[in-house]
């Protein structure tokens, strides 16, 4: 039983990271109907920038703050230069562009920092604490806490502020939003900036465990896509639940299903996603507006 709980906790911790990336994907999808395949690689790039600053001797917290702000700006620049000119273009063009972002950011990261793996400092202390007889790593709890804070802040801003209402409205209907005086392009731009920030949070949370490398986020993107599909592409709340479910399913499946094993554990989230899609094509918390994709 204790093993079971340990697996659940570690699954939740991985799931929190998938959830963070899924939130980023969903924010962008809701606002611009684009799946940003470059999200993970943009996050890797941000994590490398953070690593570089820490390496130069800048305090960890300051490096994180500066790079979060920089990620926001990079998200905005990407939107202004690659996405905005394409709004209204066919979906295929958008897919090509975001796949291009994937390649571009990976290449730039590789070009600046090379392909070697690098150790990334954890922002949480080492060690674990016992909760009801189960040994839980502090980093796992910290990761979950970070997700909770990020998701809650986004939720509160979206629900209770004028800015949040404007962003939700712009994502919901551009023409109607323009009619009530919302600067829609600016809201979409902020959405891309915000997504880049959340993506970076996912990357710096997982970097200590996976080691930093230019392809670090590639498998995570895959889990994030599964989480977003599972939760519903237009629901940030669904992204959180989807991410956590994927994490737990992967952790339990990898250990309990003998034919899966460590190498094939990536199959579990895919299987789970396929099952959900068969039962409920819009995802657990999605609305029917987006099924056509």
């Amino acid at each position: 039983m204790s093993l079971f709980f340990q697996l659940v906790v570690s699954g939740l911790a991985s799931g929190a990271i998938y959830a963070a990336l899924a939130i980023a994907l969903v924010l962008i999808f809701r606002a611009t109907s684009i799946v940003n395949f470059g999200q993970g690689e943009m996050a890797t790039f941000s994590a490398y920038c953070t690593w570089q600053m820490i390496n130069w001797g800048v305090p960890v917290w300051l490096s994180l703050l500066i790079c979060l702000a920089a990620s926001f700006i990079v998200g905005i620049i990407v939107f202004r230069s690659f996405i905005q000119p394409l709004i209204g273009a066919p979906i295929e063009a958008m897919v090509v562009v975001t796949l291009g972002l994937f390649v571009l950011f990976q290449a730039v990261t590789m070009w600046i920092w090379g392909a070697d793996q690098r150790a990334f400092p954890s922002i949480f202390p080492d060690g674990g604490i016992a909760i009801g007889g189960v040994q839980v790593r502090i980093s796992a709890l910290g990761t979950l806490l970070a997700l909770a804070i990020a998701a809650l802040s986004i939720g509160l801003v979206f629900r209770f502020t004028r800015l949040g209402l404007s962003m939700r409205a712009s994502a919901y209907d551009r023409t109607k939003s323009m009619l009530v005086g919302i600067k829609v392009q600016r809201m979409l731009m902020l959405g891309w900036g915000l997504a880049a920030v959340i993506g970076m949070i996912a990357a710096v949370l997982i970097a200590p465990r996976l080691l930093l490398s230019p392809t670090m986020m590639t498998p995570i993107l895959f889990y994030g896509l599964a989480a977003a599909t599972l939760g519903g592409w237009d629901s940030p709340f669904g992204a959180v639940v989807g991410g956590l479910l994927v994490g737990v399913a992967e952790s339990l499946g990898g250990s309990y299903l003998p034919m899966v094993g460590a190498e094939l554990r990536i199959v579990v989230p895919i299987a789970l996603t396929l099952i959900i899609l068969l039962v409920k094509p819009v995802g657990l918390f999605g609305s029917y507006k987006v099924t056509k994709l």
């Binding site: 919901y172 600067k183 609305s287």
Partner: protein
Amino acid sequence: MTLLDVRGLSASYGKVQALFDCSFSVGDGEFVALLGANGAGKTTMLRALSGIARSSGTISFDGQRLDARPPEERLRLGIAHVPQGRGTFAEFTVDENLSLGAITLSDAAQVRRDKERWYQTFPRLRERRNRLAGNLSGGEQQMLAVARALMSRPKLLMCDEPSLGLAPAITAEIFEIFKDLHKRHRMTLLVVEQNADLTLQFADTAFVIETGHIVATSPAHEMLHNQDIQKSYLGV
């Protein structure tokens, strides 16, 4: 005094031209009806005025040139547009829809007072303030669309076919509200309608638009009794 002055306005959708060299003006506090058959270009006219359709020509409003300004600036200057088919945010609550109407205003206390005021005018909206707009009846949605437009504190309220799909009693209720806004609050109104008889009873002035041209202008009560215009342009 002239509030809105339009000179040589043209608009097209790709190769299809929908408005040809239209000129007219609307006085401050005037209630204007824009009449015309289906496909005449009424919706395009409102879209060009609020800036969500591209147009050429000059639009002056309250002494300022509008034609180069984006929709949100025109709204800030005082043009509110209730689009055809209401244009409420279906997945947002009634209250959120009103907040969206006032999204350009930063004085939160004033926005609260305005909400209170329009909830008084539209008590049915107050009862349903936490419901999703998409779950309201057609009439309630139209009222919500009007209330939302009023939340931006406009000088000119433009409304596209408010009667569309509504029962006559509800339509009458909405026109009574227009009359009240016009008479008591000196609101300037530009109402697009196919229902000419009803609209002409409330409006001061009427324009008739046909295949993108303004073909008739006259005081509303004259047009109400002018069989020629009614026959030739409005298909009565």
